[in-house]
Amino acid sequence: MIKFIFRGVLRDRTRTLFPFLTVAIGVGLAVFLDAYLRGTTDSMFNTTARLVCGHLMVTTSAGAHAGEYATPELALLDVTPRQQELENSYPEVVWTPRIRFGGIIDIPDSTGMTRAQVPVSGMAVDLSPGGIEHKLLRLDRILVRGKTPRNTKQILLSEQLSQRLGLNPGDRLTLITMTADGGMAIADFTLAGTIRFGITALDRSVLLDSIADLRQTLGLPDGATEILGFFKNGVYNDRRAINISRHYNARHTHPDEFSPLLRPLREASGMGQLIDIVANATGLILTIFIIAMAVVLWNAGLINSLRRYNEIGIRLALGESSRDIYLSLLAEAFFIGLLGSTAGTLLGLGAGFYMQRVGLNISGMMRNATVLIDDVLRARIAPVTFFIGFIPGLFATLLGNAISGLAVFRRQTAQLTKEFSE
């Protein structure tokens, strides 16, 4: 009987084509949207994590309170033992210290007099070759000119800023900043290379320095404004991050403002609401998608039932029960849903893979933006993307046909002969 039904489904294109196309397009859109949304939000969260606050961030309580205005005065001390403790307690996370600072760079002319002075936004990290920061900051990819620092007193500077100031690798410059105890710090550096993060907000004024150098400049031995943690699989896990922060903070009471405080990305970046919205957005989109598609397929099912009115009547007259006809309509719907969902998933994955590989360059739109997001938006295909549209597609087809098919039970067999004579 199943073979008989499928033969009919395959032969009667007017019965199958519209529902098939509806499901395929709907599922394709859902799959693509999921991949795109995932890629975009991943990009947003991971960019923020990589450059600002990690998936997890340990600061002093005072540093956390000051937020982006935190200065080296509020830095953590004894960073090495603290990092060791974090590594032992949470082995799924990799930890790295950073110092965030502000300052001015002074560029001398050929006579040694000040040619220009500009404010910079500085970040001191472990720049040792093969270190974790190489990977996190993608130093090989963002380096535009010169090379990464190999010796002490070498820095990297934004390509955009270097261009504006006419600086080239090998040029000398002076950094003027504030020490950990509030004094003035002045240190000479050589420009090792220039960098472009591809993030407009950063590329205006970023300066990258070796943390060892800066500790010396700031008089902050074994200090850091923050220790950042990153999940080793590269994906932010909000629930786990919250658990880790609760566990760590419970072990470290806060008698003073310099005691450590661990915060997950949602708190450290102020992106908690956005994370919640994103987490719910996929569910919301899919719910709307299922309802819309079920309504369309319900209507298609009704039109189909009208068109097949005669056929269903014949089947009732020949002795097929209403229940069996209803089940056969559901079997047809399952078959069409299966084909449509498979085609739609392949369609969505194809578009998603293209967007994952090629991406969408939005640098033109981000010229004056201060949002930390990559200039190229990419989709991300996750394991869940493979079935996120498939199951709702199948479900919506079954639901639409299950509702429209109920008409079979209202059919009056007493009218069949009259109908067949008309």
Binding site: M1, F4, R7, G8, R11, D12, N310, E311, G313, I314, R315, L316, A317, L318, G319, E320, S321, S322, R323, D324, T413, A414, L416, T417, K418, F420, S421, E422
Partner: protein, 237 residues
């Protein structure tokens, strides 16, 4: 003997609501049909012929009275049991053929056997036998839109007899056919009746059909006004 009768109606009444009034389609109809009869209910349009066939075929139920088909009281059957009765024991032939357009001749005839869950090999053999009966074995792969009216009705006959039902109900089977095709299918049905012993009950006002009937039940305004056995005169010469 009571069990000689495969269909019996007792004071069968069928009323239809018509606004505030009622239309009485059948008025205390009492009939008995023996196995193997070749009979017809004749009468003008609106006389209640189709209603009677509908109730005998368990497509409808009486308003009062009783109808017993193969020992089953039609008025007490659930929709599922009614479907079961039709599926196993009753074949229908309609005025407008009503073949399933997306399926081939073979598949159309095969359909009642699929519902009965007959095994594939037996199905094939029975479908081909039914198509042989109606002379369409060579058209098994054709689609309904490739057939003439006469051929379509012969496929409908094959579909009705393939499950070897006890009863075949034919509602105006020749209404859409020319004389030659009408005689052809009537000859086929007589042959089936004689060789397989299938009971045929027609609803008709076609003189060509009436000439073939061995029993003629005349209905007028829902009441049986005549019930005669006669020697069929057959094809008009």
């Amino acid at each position: 003997m009571a069990d000689e009768y495969i269909i019996e109606t007792f004071d069968l009444i069928k009323r239809y609501p018509m606004g505030r009034q009622e239309l009485v389609a059948l008025k205390k109809v009492n009939l008995k049909f023996r196995r193997g009869e070749f009979s017809g209910v004749i009468g003008p349009s609106g006389s209640g012929k189709t209603t009677l066939l509908n109730i005998i075929g368990s497509l409808d139920t009486p308003s009062s009275g009783s109808v017993v088909v193969l020992g089953e009281k039609v008025e007490t059957l659930t929709p599922y049991r009614s479907a079961q009765l039709r599926r196993r024991h009753i074949g229908f032939i309609f005025q407008t053929f009503n073949l399933l357009p997306v399926y081939t001749v073979f598949e159309n005839v095969e359909f009642p056997l699929l519902i009965l869950k007959v095994p594939p090999a037996e199905r094939r053999q029975r479908v081909m036998a039914a198509l042989e009966w109606v002379g369409l074995a060579d058209r098994e792969k054709s689609r309904p839109n490739q057939l003439s009216g006469g051929e379509s009705q012969r496929v409908a006959i094959a579909r009705a007899i393939v499950k070897q039902p006890a009863i075949v109900l034919a509602d105006e089977p020749t209404a859409n056919l020319d004389a030659e095709n009408s005689y052809h299918i009537l000859d086929t049905m007589v042959k089936i009746n004689q060789e397989l012993g299938t009971t045929f009950i027609f609803s008709t006002h076609d003189e060509k059909v009436i000439r073939y009937l061995r029993r003629k039940i005349k209905l007028l305004d829902g009441a049986v006004v005549a019930d005669k056995h006669a020697q069929p005169s057959g094809r008009e010469t």
